[in-house]
């Protein structure tokens, strides 16, 4: 009888191409992913089912939270041009001069919570030290010393001066356990400047809530 020779097929597949594609995609995602900036005031946002995304630019975030038993308000601007414009406004209003180095340093800072008098010291620190507990006491926003209001005004002015066609958007990021009057105070400051529409930053909640 004639022997039928079975050809011995190799079971291993060549994975080189697959590997290439996988790493290409991996590189793409790593490069496009935005690194999470450490927050100086971590808050636990309440969750909601509404799924409106926050805009990437033209946004000012006001964080309200509690740290070491004290209510604190932090202020953050997304655009670098607005940051520098707002700093300019504050420095002329409160008669605090900043060097060019400090100005560029400020443009890189996302969120902060110090009175403008203490901003110099904060800018002199290293980025990693700024997020440490107790370094930033929070933005003064009571009726005697309402710097938050001035920062908001400065940011809005800067937005107009930059030729921003879109109105600056404001987002309130509050801690879930924060009592309502604290949030109300920030809302009132915004409303005093005729900002009647803003966003509340929330987390994602499951559909079956």
């Amino acid at each position: 009888m004639g022997k039928v020779k079975m050809s011995k097929k190799s079971t291993s597949i060549d994975m080189t191409a697959m590997c290439d594609v996988a790493f290409l995609l991996l590189t793409f995602f790593i490069l496009t992913a935005t690194a999470k900036v450490p927050e100086p005031l971590p808050v636990d946002t309440p969750s909601s089912t509404v799924q409106t995304k926050l805009p990437e630019t033209g946004l000012v975030t006001i964080t309200v939270g509690k740290s070491e038993g004290k209510e604190q308000v932090f202020f953050g601007m997304k655009d670098r041009a607005i940051r520098s414009g707002a700093l300019e406004y504050m420095s002329s209003k409160y008669k605090v001069d900043f060097t060019d180095k400090e100005k560029t340093e400020f443009e890189l800072m996302d969120e902060f919570g110090v009175p403008v008098e203490g901003l110099k010291q904060l800018l002199a620190m290293k980025g990693s030290d700024r997020a440490k507990k107790g370094v930033q006491p929070g933005m003064p926003c009571d009726s005697i010393n309402n710097q938050l209001q001035d920062w908001i005004q400065g940011a809005r002015k800067a937005n107009i001066e930059n030729g921003g066609t879109k109105e600056l958007q404001f987002a309130i990021k509050g801690d879930a356990k924060e009592e309502y009057p604290q949030i109300k105070r920030v809302m009132d400051i915004l409303q005093d400047q005729k900002i009647n529409s803003f966003n509340l930053v929330t987390g994602l909640r499951g559909k079956d809530y």
Binding site: M15, F29, I30, M187, V201
Partner: protein
């Protein structure tokens, strides 16, 4: 290709017949591909999820103090008032506090689908039928008391979005009668 050929056998060495091993160094890429795809999945998921969600909130223009206040009369059958107390407690009533609508007496409720949502949904449907006009739907008045938390506020606002309440407002002044309700609830 992923084959590393490390010289063929070395040929004949001297007189002794030393057969060197034929090592076919084909690298197994399976583990590497696995890892790569795992990382891809991770980055794909985190990039889309890291964007924070937000909730739009529009508040009415603040009245200037000089302007005379104009009270807008609203049909009491349309209003439902929700009062938030401390410790996640909540109370609601339909109509006026002194003369509530049928089944609308001040009642305690809980947040979530089996508590507040049922009551709101019921009224979202029933109010237009009572008023006989589609455009005159339910009006929800949200009254957060001093002790209520931000979470409570967002939960109620979320409820408004889920139930598609046509009109709702956050009202900050709590009348003395309503204050009594709050005290009762906070006990």
């Amino acid at each position: 290709m992923a084959e590393l050929n490390t010289g063929e056998g070395g040929g004949k060495k001297g007189s002794g017949k030393v057969r060197s091993k034929k090592s076919n160094a084909k690298v197994d890429l399976t583990a590497m591909v696995d890892l790569a795809f795992l990382l891809i999945t991770f980055f794909m998921l985190t990039t889309s999820l890291s964007k924070p969600q937000s909730m739009d909130l529009g508040l009415p223009d603040k009245d200037d103090k000089d302007e005379p206040q104009k009270d807008v009369k609203v049909d009491q059958r349309r209003t439902m008032t929700i009062i938030m107390g401390d410790n996640d407690k909540i109370k609601w009533f339909h109509g006026l506090l002194e003369s509530p609508e049928p089944n609308g007496k001040p009642t305690d409720a809980v947040y979530g689908r089996n508590g507040l949502r049922k009551e709101i949904l019921k009224r979202v449907v029933s109010v237009p039928q009572v008023t006989g006009n589609k455009d005159k739907g339910l009006i929800v008045i949200i009254k957060p008391s001093k002790k209520s938390t931000y979470r409570n506020l967002v939960d109620v606002l979320d409820e408004m979005a889920i139930c598609k309440v046509p009109t709702y407002a956050i009202v900050n002044d709590i009348t003395p009668d309503e204050m009594k309700l709050v005290d009762e609830m906070n006990k």
